[in-house]
């Protein structure tokens, strides 16, 4: 079946873990949550049989002893979050995988891109926060995908494009209805003295390029420029760009964007038209 759904959303531990500290921006926060709920509904309407989440984890599973540019999960089930349940305000659970779809996805993607596969994967907030909103009953089989956005050497953006297109091709070739969601911050400086900083101008500019799916402009970012203007957290634009590639030629809708400093990220929800 052709891919049935594509979208992007932010992740950050604060989004769930510091909800109670966001009372002074309660309205903004609640509209953000609503947008995530609407995104879940829009996805559920397409009745997907599996959800591929393209994330960028933070040394939960992958370390410098074997840091894959791309990794795709192939497990029966996953577990998460690895973080303290109270701190993240998400209960630890098992999440069903889709090993058979995974295996076909990986085999197909490997024709164009070179991925690692993983039969075990513990989700950190990078995937656990989106799932908390998108499949809160954990009744939708999930296929996690990771792009190394943590430490160079990082995969270049034109390869991210190739990867997004490979994912799309593989999904379209499958009999199953598959949904695809990318998740990353735009500008942010996590876990450093600049933590909490958000470059709203950078984010809005990026999002215009993203929802209009302007390939050339999206691929024109350099890592140095991103590091300077959007922080090392900005390397996670790779997750968004993979979704733009998977929906090349189509445009999207920005459902929500607002910097919410207590969440330490410009909070984003957007969908892309799937043609």
């Amino acid at each position: 079946m052709p891919l049935v759904f594509a979208g992007v959303c932010s992740h950050a531990p604060g989004i769930t873990g510091r909800a109670h500290l966001a009372e002074d921006v309660a309205e903004k926060r609640d509209v953000f949550y609503d947008s995530l709920h609407r995104m879940r509904e829009a996805m559920e309407e397409k009745d997907p049989e599996a959800l591929i989440v393209v994330g960028a984890e933070h040394f939960a599973n992958f370390f410098f002893d074997n840091m894959p540019a791309y990794c795709i999960g192939m497990a029966d089930f996953y577990e998460g979050p690895i973080e303290d349940e109270e701190w993240l305000a998400i209960r630890r659970t098992r999440i069903p995988g889709a090993p058979d779809i995974s295996r076909r996805l990986i085999t197909e993607v490997m024709n164009d891109c070179d991925v690692a596969y993983a039969q075990e994967w513990k989700f950190d907030h990078g995937i656990a926060v989106p799932l908390h909103f998108l499949t809160p009953r954990y009744d939708l089989p999930v296929i996690p995908v990771n792009i190394n956005c943590q430490e160079p050497p990082l995969t270049p953006l034109h390869r991210v494009w190739a990867f997004g297109k490979a994912l799309r091709k593989a999904c379209d070739a499958m009999p199953e209805r598959v949904a695809l969601v990318g998740t990353g911050g735009i500008s942010h400086w996590p876990c450093t003295p600049d933590s909490g900083t958000i470059n709203e101008a950078f984010d809005r500019d990026f999002l215009i390029k993203f929802v209009n799916n302007r390939k050339d402009e999206l691929l024109a970012y350099t890592d140095e420029e991103v590091y300077r203007d959007a922080g090392h957290g900005g390397f996670e634009i790779r997750t968004f760009i993979s979704i733009a590639a998977a929906t090349e030629g189509a445009t999207g809708n920005l459902w929500f964007y607002a910097p919410i400093p207590i969440f330490a990220v410009g909070c984003t929800v957007a969908t892309m038209t799937v043609q």
């Binding site: 933070h58 040394f59 939960a60 370390f63 410098f64 002893d65 690895i82 943590q150 430490e151 160079p152 996590p190 876990c191 450093t192 003295p193 933590s195 890592d223 140095e224 590091y227 300077r228 090392h232």
Partner: protein, 112 residues
């Protein structure tokens, strides 16, 4: 039969092993146990310099930041030592004031 690597100029720092220790402390309950009960034997299993060992033992979060430890790893090490978030952030700031700019790793990206 261990080759002396100093002569190759290959091992002036061992950021990889500092980060490996912290990564394993974050992920592996048994390593964390040994860190409590058998710390020096555990530390011997990593290739750490004196400066790194000292920063780990103290713990000197600011020094570890300046040595180049990635914050996504370091914050867990601070949490293990019960640093509240604000103190973790402040410790990195103090580290830069006391020891100078970050020397290696991700946060030196624009200096290369």
């Amino acid at each position: 039969m261990t080759i002396e690597f100093r002569s190759w100029g290959l091992r002036d720092v061992s950021l990889y092993y500092v980060q490996k220790l912290i990564y394993q402390l974050n992920r592996d309950m048994r390593v964390r146990e040994r860190f409590g009960t058998d710390r020096e034997a555990l530390l011997k299993e990593y290739e750490l310099t004196q400066e790194e060992l000292e920063a780990i033992r103290t713990p000197d979060i600011g020094k570890l930041f300046v040595l180049g430890v990635n914050g996504q790893l370091l914050m867990h090490y601070a949490a293990l030592h019960r640093y509240p978030w604000a103190n973790y952030i402040q410790a990195m700031r103090d580290g830069v004031t006391k020891y100078g700019k970050v020397r290696e790793g991700l946060y030196t990206m624009l200096e290369k």
